[in-house]
Symmetry: C2
Subunit: 144 residues, 2 copies
DNA sequence: GTCGTAGTTGCAAATTTTGGCATCTGCGGG
DNA sequence: CCCGCAGATGCCAAAATTTGCAACTACGAC
C-alpha cells in the first residue's frame, strides 16, 4: 500500500500525534489519483468515519502540508486542492494563465535555483511543492 | 509620483477600464511602504471614498495581480497581502518556515529556471511574483 | 497496565472570500 | 457632444476558511 503512514517522513517530531483522523485524511489523498479539494477529502473521510469535522480536515491538511507530505495547488477561480507528494516522483506545477493547462515540472529543474538561493542568501528552499504561473507554448503561439 | 496609473504596464488591453476604484486601490498599494492586506487596502480606499465595497477591493486586487501590477504574498497564519511591483526592483520572497524571516530574492536569480522551463516545456513563466518557502541560514544553524 | 499531559478534535460562531444580479459608467463610435 | 454597451460596481447572500474552547485521546513515563 502506498500509504504507509507510520513511515519515514511524517510525524516524526516530538509531541506530534498520529490520530485516526490524520491517517484517514492522508489515506484519502494518497489513494486518490488526482488533486482533491478539502471538501472532497472530507467526503471521503466521512465514508470511513462520519463524525470527522470539516475543520479538522482543514487543520489536518495544513498540518500535512507543513510536514511536506502533501502539496497544495492554488489555481485562482478554483478551490484549493491537495495532492500526495510521492517520493521518487516529486514535481511542481506550471499553470497556463490563459488556458489553464497544467504541466508537471520535474523537481530536478529547480536544482539550479535551489543552489543559487543557498549560496547567495544562505536560504534552503523547501522543494516540496511549488505552483508557477505563466503561459504554455500553445497560448504563446496563439497570442503572439 | 510613483503611481502613474495611466502608464505602460496596466490596463492596456481592449475592454479593460480604468475606474476610480481601481485607481484608488492601486494608489493605496503603491503609496504604502509594506504589504497590505485586503482589509487595509479597503480602509485606505474608504478614506478617499467611503462607499467602495470590500468585494470590489477583492475583485480589483485579483485583477491587478493578473495584470502583473501587484504581487501576492501568502504566508500561512497570516492574511494574504499585496505589494506593488515596481519596475527596476522586481523581486520575489523567500520565507523561513521556522522563524518567519522574509528575504527578498532578486528576479534575476530565476533566469535560469525560466530558461529551463522555456526550453524543456515551452512554458514561459510569469516572473511577477513568487513566494518560496524554506529555511533561513540562522534557523538551519540552530536546528542542526 | 495505568496515569498525566500536551496535542487534537468536534462543535459553534466568527471571519474571510466569492458569486449573483440589477444598476451604473468608462470610453470608442458616430 | 451624445449613445450604446461591455465591463465594473454595490449590495446582498452564499460559500469557504479560520478560530475559541471544553472535552477527548495518543503516547511517553512509571
Amino acid at each position: 500500500m502506498s500509504c504507509e503512514i507510520t513511515s519515514d517522513r511524517p510525524t516524526a517530531q516530538s509531541g506530534v500525534r498520529l490520530t485516526p483522523q490524520r491517517a484517514m485524511v492522508l489515506e484519502a489523498i494518497y489513494h486518490s489519483d488526482g488533486h482533491l479539494s478539502v471538501d472532497e477529502v472530507h467526503e471521503r473521510v466521512q465514508m470511513l468515519s462520519p463524525y470527522v469535522d470539516l475543520s479538522t480536515v482543514y487543520r489536518t491538511v495544513m498540518f500535512l502540508k507543513q510536514q511536506g507530505v502533501i502539496g497544495e495547488l492554488r489555481l485562482d477561480g478554483q478551490p484549493v486542492r491537495y495532492e500526495a507528494v510521492r517520493s521518487g516522483h516529486e514535481h511542481h506545477h506550471a499553470v497556463c494563465s490563459t488556458c489553464g493547462a497544467m504541466i508537471e515540472v520535474d523537481s530536478a529543474d529547480l536544482t539550479e535555483l535551489s543552489e543559487i538561493l543557498s549560496e547567495k542568501y544562505g536560504f534552503t528552499i523547501n522543494l516540496v511543492h511549488l505552483t508557477l504561473t505563466g503561459q504554455c507554448s500553445a497560448c504563446q503561439a496563439a497570442s503572439g
